[in-house]
Symmetry: D2
Subunit: 303 residues, 4 copies
């Protein structure tokens, strides 16, 4: 195989080499290296700092898995806060539901959001223009500590904390304590929690431990995101209902209220409970690995 390629270094010991059909964008924003490429299998694909963020072929797996389990646990959230989520797909899936009255999205990288608006239409599908949307270009931590608003559902769609990056202060005990304060009664927080592969569970386990310090009900779950080449972890932290106790019939009802044209391709009522059933090796890791992450001692991913 020859010609144009994109090499993703998953670890120093394993690389993925993608054949590139078209380079849609290749450059840097103020915060990160941005590559938007048309790949042969994955379709249009976004890479940040050379790591895949989402691919046209299956971005719905990640985004439905981030949004829907928490949304149905709240029931019919009216106000939703999204931290990160530059592509606009998390926003899109939230806005499918007419009961959502307001969606605030805070992303630090305005250039990335502009690139998404221009090149990633299948992701946002116009969600940035929805009158219920407020887009704030700012550091999520500053926003969260300054806002006087409260939310029924908060979705943490943030990239993992890498050395020198700002996001490590967005996965700490103190940050989650503040998120709890701006959640309404019965409110739910969902945190994307990194890979759930057997070699990389420290981050997931640490998030679960940290959230358990703050929330009465914490439920880890997972989904299989093909283009990430990995099972993917999420953590749901609830001030109200236990997601394991939401009946299938209610989930079906809530999903049926999504706007016309909405079609969920991964998540469905019959999958909800199964997503919370984790394999033995994850249970083992959640028991033996991880630590409470604090502002003073946050998580930093070593590449």
């Amino acid at each position: 195989m020859e010609g144009l390629k994109f090499v993703e270094t998953f670890t120093p010991y394993l690389q993925y080499v993608h054949s590139v059909k078209e380079v849609v964008f290749h450059g840097r924003s103020r915060f990160q290296q941005v590559d938007i490429l048309d790949l042969h299998i994955f379709g249009r694909t976004l890479f940040l700092d050379n790591k895949i963020q989402s691919a046209e072929v299956d971005e719905y797996i990640y985004h439905e898995s981030l949004v829907l389990p928490g949304l149905v646990t709240v029931g019919r959230p009216r106000r939703v806060l999204i931290l990160g989520g530059g592509e606009g797909a998390t926003l899109r899936d939230v806005l499918r539901f007419p009961f959502v009255e307001r969606a605030v999205m805070v992303d630090i990288d305005g250039e990335l959001v502009d690139l998404a608006k221009r090149y990633l239409k299948p992701w946002h599908q116009g969600a940035f223009e929805d009158s219920r949307t407020e887009l704030i270009i700012d550091d999520a931590r500053r926003y969260v500590f300054e806002t006087r608003e409260t939310f029924d559902l908060i979705l943490s769609d943030l990239t993992e904390p890498v050395e020198g990056g700002p996001s490590r202060m967005l996965f700490t005990l103190e940050f989650y304590q503040r998120l709890r304060e701006i959640l309404t009664d019965g409110g739910v927080l969902v945190v994307q929690s990194g890979s759930a592969d057997p070699t990389y569970l420290e981050f997931f386990a640490s998030l679960v431990r940290t959230l358990e310090e703050v929330f009465p009900t914490v439920r880890p779950y997972w989904a299989f995101v093909y283009s990430f080449q990995s099972p993917w972890a999420f953590t749901l932290a609830s001030l109200g209902r236990d997601p394991l106790k939401v009946p299938e019939s209610e989930i079906q009802q809530v999903l049926s209220e999504a706007g016309s044209g909405s079609r969920f391709r991964y998540y469905h009522a019959g999958l909800h409970h199964a997503m919370f059933a984790l394999p033995g090796y994850v249970h083992d890791a959640l028991k033996t690995q991880g630590r409470v992450l604090t502002d003073e001692n946050p998580f930093v991913w070593e590449a």
Copy 2:
């Protein structure tokens, strides 16, 4: 990254580049290219014709997922037939259970089995020497059509049919009809069914359709095998119980009868039912894709 590598071409458009610590074996058997390598993340890893077969780091995910759901559905199978499975790990997981009285394993590649005996001890853990084992080096099709034995559980641990390869006649209606004949009442067949990623469901869907022509109860399920970089499909075909109706408590009881030192790290009673909950995109594909595979018109995977 420089030095010794192993390149796996998942499709012409996506390659995985593994850093190699040691080359344990690099050569050809009569049937296939065999590479046994020590990799940095995956540990000892077997590649056949340059495709990963199993890695020390997580071979248990695949093997437990292949063996255990069917085994607990039968209950306490006494006679088990394994088609393929050269590494010996399927055999190992079957023999963990003292109620198994006889395990016949038929693999066409005797050289591969010899390499496994020598270099893949963590896989077989001496299973080839177990007095309950009969190892037959032969074409599985010939064996199956000639045997006069019957089995309570049959495990199809065969590589996907590639052009020119012999295994395509091992995934057909006629072959499965014969397997049904050599199953005892209440017997179960489990077929490893390839990747369950959203771009590659034709094989899985075809297997489900073909097995539905032969067996009264057919249940597709999946697992996430990290070193395959993909969610993985399996199909359980039963002459007896529906696997969805096996109670958790019974599963727990059966698993507890495994010999001392047995430790399952993926599968457990609480995961059994969740493994059969498939996402929307798989349900869609099982409805719209696939065809009945026959001796005349078998499946051939085009690389």
Copy 3:
């Protein structure tokens, strides 16, 4: 190393992986895949059908080596014909000399020439706009057999004949016989002759043998083109002087007549004769390899 790459398959067994700074153009002309990339070491680089054609960092090595030894052998050619040479750099080096009155360039790929005009300015440096230039977009073979013009110097700047490509009829006995007819007395033909590495001398040897059937004096020579990762072969066929008999002082004089701003960075009077001194392994190959290439049995490079 991660991110955007360009992979060049020199042979199925050796690949070069270039890190890409910018993709300037990535697409197909009617005749070939065209990639114009900014690379880290090589600067702007042109690839045709995924093979490097020339790189900013050292295109002068190839072009000076193609143009100058033949030009000084003629002395002061007035009319020059260039076959191929889409980038315009061969044309540029020819037009440096005020004694050149007319330069005809025939290239089959008009889209490539347009891309060169736009993106490869350091190559042509405006040579396409020189009033002495006539650019003809056509099959070189058709042009050569139809023209009624004669030339003092002909430069064959054609890519090697690959299977299915049209250029194989541009390296044959019959074609060279026709070139001889349109050369003036004392005229010289120079043919770029592929790699001169020890593993790939069949093409070079065949060209020398074929030209020896047609021309009284044939002199193979070489240069080291760094970005081709290989020593590079050329063949000079003369109806007049032997290039080995051109005195250094005359070469110096001719070079000094190049227009102001001209600066040769590889070729100089003191290098001229050394370029015709070939190593033992090339002498051996020229004796033992190669055959006369004919229209009926042309050379086809097997990738």
Copy 4:
């Protein structure tokens, strides 16, 4: 292309990916990573610290170019000192001449020499067993400063100085002053001087400048070593004759005295003078780049 590969990082921006037929040896000596591989095009190939050292297909180009121009400049050297040269091929080419009475080879890496003895027979061809050979496993610097012997020809076959490596003290003014002291009248030193590609001339230029401080006659020259993917630089420093003044007929005579079975495949009398003709870009670099290397401020190659 899939399967076993060896990746050589020429610079962070250009990698060579070799297809591997067999891994002959993969491990570390006390001093360096050693890989001896059978490659498809290059045949058996030695890599040290992941950099190619020599390949079966064309090791003769490098070794003849290192040994012969200096040897014929001396005339008929009787005592020869080789610094480095672990493969034994420099030694082999020296010992082809019956007038050589004694050859001392000093290499720091005894394990490498043992591997060469075992796996690189085409390189040494038994030279280590020749009664004229003395092999000394030691730091070349220590040997050179302690020896009381003198030599007619010294060949510096040392790898370039990399950070942290010991060889940087083997390319300094002080070291060359000592080499001058142990040369006989009319003696010659030849130093392999790294790549002569247009992007990497600092090392070559520095060696020429440094040697010019010590020796009355210094002549840089080059050869095209295909498997190095680069033109290669050498520097000849003479206390006696100027290599440019050795007549071709004398070279022919000396070469003809090589033992039966000797066959030179790159160097010959007709090539000798051409090897000292360098291109414009090298002349420019020798004028403008480089500095005198000293013990206090040696050359260190930054990868």
